[in-house]
Amino acid sequence: MMTLLLQTSVLDINYVAIWPMIILSISGIAVLLFGIAKDPVHRDMSMIGIVGFVLAGVATGRLWLPVKTVGQIRAFSNMVIIDHFSLYFFFIFIIIGLLTLLISASFLEAERLPVGEFYSLVMFAVVGMMLMAAAGHLVMIFLGLEIASISTYALAGYRRNDLRSNESAIKYFVLGSAATAFLLYGMALIYGATGSAELEGIRTAIIDNVNAATKQPVHTELLFLGAAMMLVGFSFKVSAVPFHLWTPDVYEGAPSSVTAFMATASKAAAFAAFLRVFVFCFVPGYGQGLHSAWTTSLETIAILTMIAGNIAALTQHNFKRMLAYSSIAHAGYALVGLIADDWQAVAFYLLTYSITNIGAFGLITYLAGRGDRETEIDDLAGLGFNNLGVSIAMLILLLSLAGIPLTAGFMGKFIVFKAAWQKGFHVAVIVAVVTSAVSVYYYLRPMVIMFFRELKVEPKRLPLPTGVLVTVVLSILGTFYLGVMPGRLFQAMENAKVSFVQSR
């Protein structure tokens, strides 16, 4: 293992560093090829997908210790940086991808949709997200983002004959591509200002105030304009106010399992790239006030996001739409961690949020029934009487999203708010606390309807599919584990090594 980690050539080709991506790509292609067989067996394809994700997880785990001793592994001439930051996000993406496969199996079977393409698109999207988290160069962020986004556009429109799915995909495609264009323009301007497209080169250029290519001072206007453009692009991707308008429509119209994937993994990936560029490159004290400029504007965006997301969620009648607004609000909380320059807090928050949300959406895929239709909150009426297990599971997950103590949601919020308070962002933290108190109302409403309203028509619901059951059980276990004893994970993150940050 260790010998393989040595540089293999001048080109710095290092396959060990990208093993997780290679495994996922190969298994994605394998599932795709299997799908065109004469009579594809669903179970076999699910197995290939699950095995692919598990192997990718093992490969990621095997990189953890080498990174601990070496500090970081750079491959392909600094294009890919494997450090604990990227490995941590790899784990989030792999867990979410695996659980997405599990919750979508029964849905795809019931709707008679092709399985192979769906699974492979999820896997390719995860590969793109991994590249975003491990990017050492602006072009890698762009490529990873596009691999992930293009796969997700196709997934959002996966029910080709359904008008709502079509509409969701088109809206996501148009606004997502526009956001990409803004991000790309920002990248181009930063490249011009600093003379380097490598993240470390940008960081050094800003710190030394020297354009890496021309050896002249960094062009401040171009740098600020580029940073602002990238801020807009990333805000679109994490659905922060005022760039959040696509989120409710897209989340409502897409198939529920795809919504689960978009609300968790896509968001985490966007935050990973956001952290890489803004926290690790635009460092405090240099670049003529670049750091204070971006933190101030992001603080405003975070406050607006928390207020608008939570208030809009109060009035929703559709469960998926409500969770879409809730995910906007959660992006606001994560942004509070981002302005505090604390990647550990943001990453931990994203893990808690993703673990909880994937379980909640898993239950929605089951409750939505045939055609993914019954997603109104009123459709839950009387669920507490005829399916106690499912309603209690939903209760726990919604309480975790609301941030009630003993659950993961509380721990995540606590860590983020503490980090931001210590850095002096008192207004943002106060708004965050008040809005999370408000959010309890809309998380409690489905529960009231489940337990205290008589059901009118006996719904014809099938037994809970195994995949959904496994996902929900894992999600609830994760929720309690992270909420009650997050100590070990914290310790691992405290000792985590991030490349080119500690070196200065």
């Binding site: 160069h137 602006l138 072009v139 762009f142 490529l143 596009e146 293009i150 556009y153 196709a154 429109g157 080709r160 004959n161 008008l163 709502r164 079509n166 509409e167 969701s168 995909a169 088109i170 809206k171 495609f173 148009v174 591509s177 526009a178 990409t180 264009a181 790309l184 323009y185 990248m187 181009a188 301007l189 490249y191 011009g192 003379g195 380097s196 497209a197 490598e198 354009n211 890496a212 290519a213 021309t214 409710p248 429509d249 409502e252 119209g253 009035t315 929703q316 739409r321």
Partner: protein, 100 residues
């Protein structure tokens, strides 16, 4: 030699035209073309910077952007076709099922 700022201004103008078109146009295909215009405006900046800085990364970036734009066109046109099949229209204003 044409100074760098001319290229940058042209690129900014093209990008703005694309961004404005995105909000003004009603036909999905025109919107799609506006997105392509924005991406190509960025390509112009990247090439200009690359030549000005004498640094090859910008040229490489442009190739990647072109590849990605082609992939995006593939998926985007497929989505537009599936919308057209279901609705016989590519007017973005008619996509209004998902509202509060």
């Amino acid at each position: 030699m044409v100074p760098l700022s001319w290229y940058l201004v042209l690129s900014a103008v093209l990008f703005t035209l694309g961004a404005v078109g995105l909000f003004v146009k009603r036909n999905i295909i025109s919107i799609f073309m506006c997105i392509e215009l924005m991406l190509n405006a960025v390509n112009l900046s990247l090439v200009a910077f690359s030549s000005f800085l004498k640094h090859l990364d910008g040229q490489l970036f442009v190739f990647m952007v072109m590849v990605v734009a082609a992939a995006e066109a593939g998926v985007g046109l497929a989505l537009i076709i599936s919308v057209f099949r279901n609705r016989e229209s590519v007017d973005i204003d008619k996509l209004n099922l998902l509202k509060m």
